[in-house]
Assembly symmetry: C2
Homo-oligomer: 363 residues x 2
């Protein structure tokens, strides 16, 4: 792997970050005592909301992500509707790639599709870098949000190097990641060069958001669960570490999340996460046990309601939420969330009801 240390932020923060000392989300994320049990939902800004579908009509996903007014409004919608404890910037994992000039589109029903998959050293060399001004529209959206959100913190968003690399190498979503895995093993120099460039892009993207005022960041490594712990530590961890490390000096909570990552939780913490997201395959108390170290603070976790269970009857959902809150009390801090994103067919009334229930529970 490239041994260059993560660079210092390219610009000094230009927006004073809000003082949100009363934020339950930020208190829990820092291992403190929140006034109430905090809750938000991955993909809360999105297709489950009729007001989102109305606003997006006629606008492509990527166009929406580069329209400051639209991304700000979409980010606000679930905050207004559900009273969640955090907003998550409306964006997509491939936004910084698109901004840098990669020929990539999000095809409805398929996902990101890359015109020319990246599989050789020459392809990697030709991958453009990202300059902060190329994501100026996102930073503008963040500035609008910081004004409009009141006391609600805003979480910045980026995709992690492995997941970005998988899209670029496979050419789109992949179930088996065979080209990605075979490249990392067969041509490790090419792999590390690519992942290093993607880490730099992710750093630039997060720093642009931080400089514009986000109060926390979450690094999504959606596909990391496809890897063995051995491969994750050798091929992925150094690059995710360089992303999370580079934003450390901003002093905001850093969350790291992937699906099916029960075997990877400690490695994802070691990448520099203050908060580790857990999917529904592992009870939170077991996740806390795995993440605990003899000398460190009690781990802070986020999760882990199965998004599929939001389709069940209310008594089932209520029992699950109570169980998860109980199991989360073994953590040094617990932010209630789903174990993956809100599914498009989810009834938004159910989400609102979950928020109300969580807020009634003892933190």
């Amino acid at each position: 792997m490239p041994s260059t240390p993560p660079p210092a932020p390219q610009t000094r923060p230009t927006t004073a970050r809000r003082e949100l000392t009363d934020s339950p989300y930020l208190a829990a994320a820092r291992g403190g005592t929140p006034a109430r049990l905090p809750v938000w939902f991955m993909r809360q800004a999105g297709r489950s909301l009729p007001e989102y579908r109305a606003l997006r009509e006629g606008t492509s996903m990527l166009d929406a992500c580069f329209d400051p007014e639209m991304l700000a409004e979409i980010t606000m919608q679930p905050v207004r509707r559900h009273d969640v404890d955090a907003a998550i910037l409306f964006s997509d994992i491939v936004v910084p790639l698109k901004a840098a000039g990669v020929d990539i589109e999000i095809v409805p029903g398929t996902g990101p599709v890359v015109a020319s998959p990246i599989r050789t050293a020459a392809d990697v060399a030709a991958l453009p870098e990202l300059s902060p001004d190329q994501v100026g529209a996102v930073a503008d959206g963040v500035r609008l949000l910081v004004e409009r959100l009141g006391r609600t913190p805003l979480i910045g968003f980026a995709g992690a190097p492995f997941t970005l690399a998988s899209y670029l190498i496979e050419g789109g979503p992949s179930r088996n990641h065979e080209h990605t895995k075979s490249l990392m093993h067969s041509e490790p120099e090419v792999w590390h060069a690519l992942a290093g460039k993607l880490a730099k892009i992710a750093r630039t993207f997060l720093i642009a958001q931080l400089d514009a005022g986000v109060d926390a960041v979450q690094l999504f490594d959606s596909w990391a669960g496809a890897l063995s712990p051995r491969d994750y530590r050798e091929f992925v961890l150094p690059h995710s570490t360089s992303v999370l490390g580079a934003v450390g000096e901003y002093g905001v909570p850093r969350t790291h999340f992937g699906v099916g990552t029960g075997e990877l939780l400690t490695a994802m913490r070691d990448a520099g996460a203050d908060v580790v997201g857990v999917d529904w395959r592992l009870p939170l108390d077991e996740a806390v046990r795995r993440l605990s170290t003899p000398d460190g603070p009690v781990p802070v976790v986020q999760g882990n309601l199965d998004p599929a269970l939001l389709f069940a009857s209310w008594p089932v959902i209520e029992a699950e939420v109570r169980r998860i809150a109980d199991e989360g009390r073994t953590a040094g801090g617990h932010i209630v969330n789903l174990g993956h994103g809100v599914l498009p067919g989810t009834d938004p009334e159910v989400l609102t009801r979950v928020v109300r229930l969580v807020h009634e529970l003892r933190p």
Copy 2:
């Protein structure tokens, strides 16, 4: 869950099972000492082989599964080509459903598609049972294979109740299984009635294969890894147990496998598996640790080469195979296999080379 005990086999064995005392596969599966380290590949009979693609041309998947000559020939192809230590019956998870009269097709590029998804008590009541004569063509294929296979054992094949139920409830392949999970939680009686009927179908299917002469069985619960251990034990384990329990008196090794089941391994063993299949997300020595009990025999495992790594260069594959064989030596028996099925684009020469390498290694 229904508390009826698994019924005795409906017919007595009609084919004397072959005496294959020298089979490395059977020796390892029984925790004995094989003459060589055994290896076979899930989906070894299938699209990676040009002779398979040629034979299947113009015949639908399900028609092939109900043609004794064709299924026997497809099952033989990888045995001839690769010198694997076991044949696996060429079939599909939905074959017994189709045989019973469920309106289900396998759509190329999509997977099984069910005409009328099953979501109510009335739907479950209307689900037909399977009688052994409805899978007579499969039994005929098994009888042909037992004659033709020489000293190579034949592994029988069935899909487990949860995976079958997911196809029926969702109407086809599903990433999130939201209808299935919501049904099992919201209407547990309907769920258990459905899973109980599917367990009976799987039992009948396996018993038909055993009566025709298969030497071992493998129960595939492809999607079980989508479940939390809690849900697996409550909603799935009783039904998989009734399938594996019902074939226990045949005295053949029973393997149970699912993808992404690192958290479920002990539960899958508790279902009655003699051999537990492990995907690539967990090293085999760690799987053996999880499966070990103070008083029981040392666990027998199958796996766990990542099928995506068959696309890497040979030195990478060789190192992985050697590592897996080393880690497998901590088990009471190890059958080398992939951690999931052979991917369609796999070079069959690579599979042959893996077999040759495994056979050179100390068992």
